[in-house]
């Protein structure tokens, strides 16, 4: 059996024009993808999937704990129009949420780049851009999640895995389903929406819209009501006397 077959769990054909590279193990799928892109071997919508990463990364080179059985994939995206640049993690998060919902997992997008299921973090997205190459690193806790003591001190939500929620799919089967529609949704949204319409349209998928939240960054903590997103991807936060648009920070709910 090939690696693909073992991942698929059957010998069925994989029908997709986009390439999916499979790594039994690598430092990080982002590294592999950057390398492939540099060698002109990774076109938009191609992806790199690994079973195991020995130095998976989150934002700012934080460690992304990469236990086998979870999804670690990097997906190359075509460059969207400039006006979308602030919305990329949200856009990718949205198409993933939509995809997961088609397999029955009701996930929400926590601004700007986390996936939540039942108020626990089940995945994250990291967009990296180098020159013309735009990559989305995606991590999803399918089988396991880090133990609480492994999470960073200021984590906003507990971690959770999707074992109980997912139908019986292999990692590759799941990714094939996700990437197939995600690609189409991504292109479609870019060609048919303007950012203002988009941020309005995705509100049902955004976690905590309309509730009181706290945005923490390395400079300050701001509390207020999460009104929605601005067309450039900022979070509109209504505080007591004014409202502000925030572009960085970590979102948590009041009880946390």
């Amino acid at each position: 059996m090939t690696l693909a077959q073992s991942l698929l769990g059957s010998e069925q054909d994989v029908e997709s024009k986009e390439r999916i590279y499979l790594c039994p193990s690598c430092s990080s799928t982002l590294d592999v993808a950057h390398y492939l892109a540099q060698k002109d071997a990774l076109d938009p919508f191609d992806s790199v999937l690994a079973l195991r990463q020995w130095s998976g990364r989150g934002q700012l080179r934080r460690q992304w704990i990469s236990e086998p059985g979870n999804l670690f994939v990097t997906w190359r995206l075509p460059q969207p129009h400039e006006q979308w640049s602030g919305l990329l993690p949200i856009l990718v998060g949205f198409v993933l949420c939509q995809g997961l919902r088609t397999v029955g997992v009701d996930v929400f997008l926590k601004w700007p780049n986390d996936l939540l299921w039942q108020n626990s973090k089940v995945g994250g997205i990291l967009i990296e851009e180098r020159g013309d190459v735009l990559l989305a690193g995606i991590g999803l806790n399918l089988a396991s999640c880090p133990e609480p003591f492994l999470l960073r001190e200021d984590h906003a939500f507990p971690a959770q895995n999707l074992v109980s929620a997912l139908p019986d799919l292999t990692i590759l089967e799941l990714w094939l389903r996700l990437v197939h529609l995600a690609q189409f949704r991504y292109s479609f949204i870019l060609s048919c929406f303007d950012p203002l319409e988009f941020v309005q349209f995705i509100e049902p998928v955004l976690a905590f819209v309309g509730t009181r939240v706290r945005i923490t960054d390395h400079r300050s903590i701001i509390q207020g009501v999460y009104v929605g997103l601005s067309p450039d991807g900022g979070l509109i936060l209504k505080t007591e006397n004014t409202s502000r648009i925030l572009y960085s920070g970590s979102l948590s709910t009041e009880k946390w």
Partner: protein
């Protein structure tokens, strides 16, 4: 509808004083407010969010309905209605965009007791739904695009596709405006596409249903505007043609259609269809029925827009009516007052959408401060805009800034008005679509009307244009920059003065008049043979004037500008000179490098302001107009352009390797107008005697005969022979001997003598040449004569006349030219004169030519080796006897560098003693036969060239061409190449470098230039780029940025202005401008100086970086200049979290410099070019200290400098930009 119809007047009375709200912003808000006010005298109100509450388009409204901080609030119908109700609003106009397409808006208005100015919700649903409107159309017999009736399953889609044929479109039932369309080109695609499209339709529009339509190609977009009242009266207007689109967005709209396929019958048919549709649903208010029309004139209904549209203004201009006024009246129950009798078309009209977008960068939105705003006017122009000067155009909304409409009696007139109006329209500070629209308007296809909806996509040439401000404004900015700095950085002479340095008097020359018919030029210009016959038979000695080229090259480093050529040229044109040398040599390069002028444009202009006299250029055989051998196709391409602008083509090769001149000879000899002047490089040294040079002349005659395909006798008559004593070393006695021998051997050959003044013997040497039979001599106007260039014309002529020869100069005009030049030269003397000045008779020993005498020795001084200069000159004198060639560019530079390296090397190793040792050795080599040398000397001599650089070694290998007196002895190779010298000897060649240089791909070079400058280059720009790529690009960018700097008066070019000064200058179009300098601030903490001035009464402020930043406050961040590839800024607001480089690091293009977290995306900022890091303005290392540093969009973060230049000879990197000489070998860089 039981109420009786009201007249318009009655309704107007009823409306007066009522509050009418426009639930919109921007252009529609302003447009509708106007109609509310004009006739109805109602109270116009508009909605405004925080971003918009002080926007210029709010000014016409009497009241604002404040919607708060959420920029999306214009979509919040409930909020708007609640506020409107509380303010007593009687009616709401939704405008276009935003809530105007919300079907619930009309019914919610009704529930709130407010009149909705537009159709009912039901009518919107009926006509707005594509499937329903299609069914309705088919019922009425209106053609629709072939396709399915209503939503289909995938099987049904396949059936339909079979029936109507591929390609097809899958369209979402709930989509619109080009949205939700999926194209299918093959049957295999269908299944997959259907599933995807349906899923997405569900996700996007909450409705998964799809229908199928034929995908049409070669189509025009034609629409009919309709207005209907509540009593069944319907009026359809002539068509609007909206075929010019980009991604389904309309860009240009026209009425009537200029398309030849638009017939009166088709027009009437479309109008009838539109009326039928509207009547069928009892629609009232405005609507637009949109059709696609294929190339055969077959229309297909596509959709109906149930609101006022952006392009309504052209219909208003065609009919002379106000559609919004009619719409309001109809909404309030008035009977439609327009009918075929009172509403007839009167004009043609054309609208372009002026958006704040940069078409050259994918139409990227361009928000920011509008610094200038001047709107067009005059007959036939209407502007509906939402901006003004000083307005911060917001990024939160669409980019529409203005609608520019022109109207007139015919299509041609429209094009003329639009061309003019776009030219008048000035929007400064941000990029707009104005220049792009100008491209469209001027495109022949557009003008012919023969184009389809793919016009923009299929015409990429529309993007090639230069988006720039008027030249007067650009030049004023240049003056401001020079003024703030106190020196002109573009002349590349360093910081030669400060703002406070003493100034010269303003340049206001007194110019004697030249009578038009004052002087008749005797040479039959344009006919080579006739000119040469005239020179040969005239019995006079003729003069070539080098005032504006060679002499100013030697004496002022070629900084003499076209601006001053324009002044002096007309005088020189009347002096009786055979030719004016006005181009070539180093001037060609410096014209770009420091005078920021295109050299061939300069030459072209010369022929306008000095049209009589022949123009002469100097070219350097294989090196053309540069410093290294060029392939043959560049030589020819450049040669052709040279022949177009110059009459006399003087060409030399520093090795007298005549074969190197062949490609130029081929071009020049092919023309009967151009005079080909191959020149012999002269030296005065052992071996370079008369028989040697006679051999060179023979080679020239042979090559000429071969190229021209004529006999040697004919060849002799067809050219001029140049004698080029560039160092100024040949004494009168040698010139007598040489010239008389050549004349004796080749009696018909015309001889043109050229030399420099370096040895002080200019006049007698030229006199001797003339007396011996030279026909033409080079001189210059006295006021420009200094030390190293040519000698003076009148004294040379006087001496020649004393020798019993005749001249035919217009001496009076020469004196006048001298008077004019006297007023110009002081400025150049002050700022551009060489460092060492004066005659240097020792040149006959060291052989350094003209201008190089000073600059090389200045190099020794700057490098701290002035005490070794006498030794270097001695080394030069010695080495000339061993490796023998001519003291001419680039040979003279090679010799100088060899001497510099040898002497400084010996000094470093053994002090003065070491230096004296190699000099003694050198002298022995030159004076003693090999057999007389001791073994010790034979070993010691190997030290002489041990420090030699690559250029010297290449010369020894024959890479520049054949050495004139053969290869030097083998020990020279052993000294220069070391133990492997035998290999070097084996590699030697006597072939012309041309034989091995491959042609370059000119088409590829053109593409790469086009890419660099974002537009098609001119032929001249390409040739400049081929010869000097880097400097050509800098000059092209400079000219694009500032215009023709020769319009700036001389003193301003060097010194700029000071506060309180007023100056007048003309731009290239001859328009006068007055610039008043108000204030130049002292540099702030960021090293920025603010220059405030007025230009033609308009105020300007320019920030100029004049010093390094000292402070750290964030108010005045140093911004990266987007045009400067070496300044790397932050791509947007964000957090800097890691910087990978530090000052002094060398980086390669594409290497990551720093990384910014923008909305939690990590953006790597890569080095745009190879270079060295000069400054790092902010630093972060998140992993180390968990700190991120906020940065602003455009903020300069890393300043690179060009990867340090490498010394062309010893290849050592030159660490600092301001080094003029290589610190290692002293080569001038």
């Amino acid at each position: 509808m039981s109420l009786p119809p009201h007249s318009f007047e009655k309704v107007a009375q009823e409306i007066r004083g009522k509050r009418i709200l426009v639930a919109n912003r921007g252009i529609p808000a302003r447009r509708i407010v106007r109609s509310i006010k004009e006739v109805f005298q109602a109270v116009p109100m508009i909605t405004a969010t925080d971003v918009d509450k002080t926007a210029p388009f709010t000014s016409g409204a009497h009241e604002l309905l404040h919607l708060g901080e959420n920029p999306r609030a214009y979509l919040d119908v409930d909020k708007i209605l609640a506020l409107a109700k509380s303010r007593g609003v009687a009616a709401i106009h939704p405008g276009w965009g935003f809530a105007s397409e919300d079907e619930s808006f009309p019914s919610k208005c009704r529930n709130a007791g407010i009149l909705f100015i537009g159709p009912t919700s039901e009518a919107m649903r009926l006509l707005g739904n594509k499937v329903q409107v299609r069914a309705l159309a088919q019922k009425l017999g209106i053609p629709v695009v072939p396709g399915s009736e209503g939503a289909v399953t995938v099987e049904e889609a396949r059936e339909v596709a079979k029936k109507i044929g591929l390609p097809i479109m899958l369209k979402a039932e709930g989509g619109g405006g080009g949205r939700g369309i999926y194209e299918v080109f093959s049957e295999e695609q269908l299944n997959d596409a259907f599933v995807k499209a349906s899923t997405l339709a569900q996700a996007s529009f909450g409705n998964p249903r799809l229908f199928v339509e034929r995908l049409l190609t070669s189509i025009r977009h034609i629409e009919i505007q309709v207005i209907a009242d509540k009593y069944g009266n319907v009026f359809a207007f002539d068509e609007r043609d909206c075929t010019v689109q980009r991604n389904h967005q309309k860009l240009v709209e026209i009425t009537p259609s200029p398309w030849p396929g638009m017939t009166a019958a088709l027009r009437e048919q479309l109008k009838e269809y539109a009326r039928q549709l509207v009547r069928a649903v009892e629609y009232h208010s405005l609507c637009t029925v949109e059709f696609l029309v294929d190339s055969t004139g077959q229309p297909y209904l596509i959709e109906v827009n149930t609101r006022l549209q952006v392009e309504h203004g052209i219909t208003e201009c065609r009919y002379g009516i106000d559609l919004v006024e009619e719409q309001i009246a109809v909404a309030f129950g008035a009977e439609l007052r327009l009918n075929d009798e009172n509403c007839t078309p009167k004009s043609h009209a054309l609208q372009v959408r002026i958006n704040c977008e940069d078409p050259q960068h994918g139409f990227a939105p361009n928000a920011g401060r509008i610094t200038r705003y001047l709107s067009p006017g005059g007959p036939g122009v209407r502007v509906d805009s939402c901006i003004c000067a000083g307005y911060d155009f917001p990024s939160q909304y669409d980019s529409a800034a203005a609608l520019l409409i022109v109207y007139g009696p015919a299509w041609n007139k429209l094009l003329g008005i639009m061309d003019r109006a776009l030219g008048e329209y000035l929007i400064g500070g941000i990029k707009t679509t104005i220049p792009f629209h100008h491209q469209i308007i001027m495109h022949p296809k557009f003008r012919s009307g023969e184009y389809y909806t793919n016009f923009i996509t299929n015409t990429p040439g529309l993007m090639s244009y230069l988006d720039c401000e008027p030249e007067g404004v650009r030049l004023s900015r240049l003056i401001a920059e020079i003024s703030a700095l106190g020196y002109n950085p573009h002349v590349k002479l360093g910081e030669y003065r400060t703002r406070d340095s003493k100034r010269m008097d303003p340049f206001r020359p007194s110019l004697p008049s030249i009578e038009p018919e004052y002087y008749e030029y005797p040479y039959p210009r344009g006919d080579r043979d006739a000119i040469l016959d005239y020179v040969r038979d005239s019995g006079c000695v003729h003069f070539c004037d080098t005032t504006t080229r060679d002499i100013t090259q030697s004496n002022s480093g070629n900084r003499f500008r076209l601006a001053e050529d324009r002044i002096i040229g007309p005088y020189l044109d009347n002096c009786g000179f055979f030719s004016l040398e006005n181009g070539g040599g180093a001037h060609f390069h410096v014209a770009m490098l420091a005078n920021m002028t295109y050299p061939f444009s300069e030459a072209k202009e010369w022929n306008r302001f000095a049209p009589k006299t022949l123009k002469q250029i100097l070219i350097r055989s294989t090196n053309v107009l540069g410093y290294k051998p060029q392939p043959k196709n560049i030589m020819r391409r450049t040669g052709e352009m040279i022949c177009e602008h110059y009459d006399v083509i003087r060409c030399f090769d520093f090795l007298n390797h005549i074969e190197n001149m062949r490609p130029f000879a081929e071009v020049a000899l092919a023309s009967k107008q151009n005079i080909w002047e191959p020149a012999i490089s002269l030296s005065y040294a052992q071996g370079f005697d008369v028989p040697h040079y006679l051999g060179v002349v023979q080679e020239i005659i042979d090559m000429t005969a071969q190229v021209a395909g004529c006999s040697k006798q004919q060849a002799e008559k067809r050219i001029v022979l140049g004698l080029k004593d560039m160092a100024g070393v040949c004494p009168p006695i040698f010139m007598t001997e040489l010239v008389s021998s050549i004349r004796k051997t080749y009696p018909e050959l015309i001889i043109h003598a050229h030399r420099h003044y370096t040895d002080g013997l200019f006049v007698p040497a030229m006199g001797a040449a003339a007396k011996a039979g030279a026909h033409i001599v080079d001189t210059a106007i006295g006021a420009s004569v200094r030390w190293y260039g040519q000698g003076e014309v009148l004294s040379t002529a006087a001496y020649i006349e004393e020798l019993g020869l005749k001249t035919s100069l217009n001496k009076e005009m020469i004196r006048t030219a001298g008077f004019v030049l006297k007023q110009i030269m002081p400025y150049y003397d002050r700022y551009t004169a060489p460092y060492f000045q004066g005659i240097d008779y020792d040149v006959i020993e060291h052989g350094m030519p003209g201008g190089a005498t000073s600059s090389s020795q200045e190099g020794a001084l700057k490098q701290g080796y002035i005490h070794l200069l006498p030794y270097m000159l001695k080394f030069l004198a010695g080495t000339r006897k061993i490796v023998r060639y001519h003291d001419v560019t680039p040979g003279s530079q090679i010799t100088w560098n060899t001497a510099f390296l040898a002497v400084t090397g010996a000094y470093k190793r053994g002090g003065r003693r070491g230096v004296r040792r190699i000099l003694t050795m050198l002298e022995q080599m030159a004076s003693q036969p090999e057999s007389a040398l001791s073994r010790e000397v034979k070993i010691g001599r190997l030290d002489i060239y041990q420090d030699a650089n690559d250029a010297f070694r290449d010369l020894l290998l024959g890479k520049f061409g054949r050495l004139p007196l053969g290869f030097p002895p083998d020990w020279v190779y052993e000294s220069a190449f070391g133990p492997e010298y035998q290999e070097a000897i084996a590699q030697r060649t006597e072939l012309s470098p041309l034989s091995t240089l491959a042609d370059i791909d000119l088409a590829q070079e053109r593409r790469s230039l086009t890419e660099h400058i974002s537009r098609d280059p001119s032929e001249e720009e390409l040739v400049l780029y081929l010869n000097h790529p880097g400097d050509a690009l800098a000059t092209i960018h400079f000219v694009d940025k500032y215009g023709d700097c020769n319009q700036i008066p001389l003193h301003l070019w060097f010194e700029g202005m000071c506060s309180g000064d007023e100056v007048m200058f003309k731009d290239s179009q001859g328009r006068h401008h007055v610039l008043c300098m108000k204030h130049i601030s002292r540099p702030d903490d960021h090293g920025q100086s603010l220059v405030s001035y007025s230009l033609d009464s308009e105020a300007f402020s320019v920030q100029v970086k004049v010093a390094e930043a000292v402070g750290k406050d964030e108010v005045g961040l140093e911004m990266a200049d987007p045009k400067n590839i070496y300044q790397v800024g932050s791509p947007s607001n964000g957090d800097l979290w890691v910087v990978h480089v530090k000052p002094g690091d060398m980086v390669k293009k594409g290497e990551e410099l720093f990384n910014i977290s923008i909305m939690k995306q990590e953006k790597a900022i890569l080095a745009p070019v190879d270079g060295m890091v000069e400054r790092v303005l902010k630093f972060a290392d998140y992993q180390e200290d968990k700190k991120m540093v906020p940065v602003k969009e455009g903020e300069l973060l890393v300043q690179l400098i060009p990867a340090p230049r490498k010394c062309p000879t010893c290849t050592t990197p030159i660490a600092r930009e301001d080094f003029r000489f290589c610190p290692c070998c002293g080569q001038k860089v």
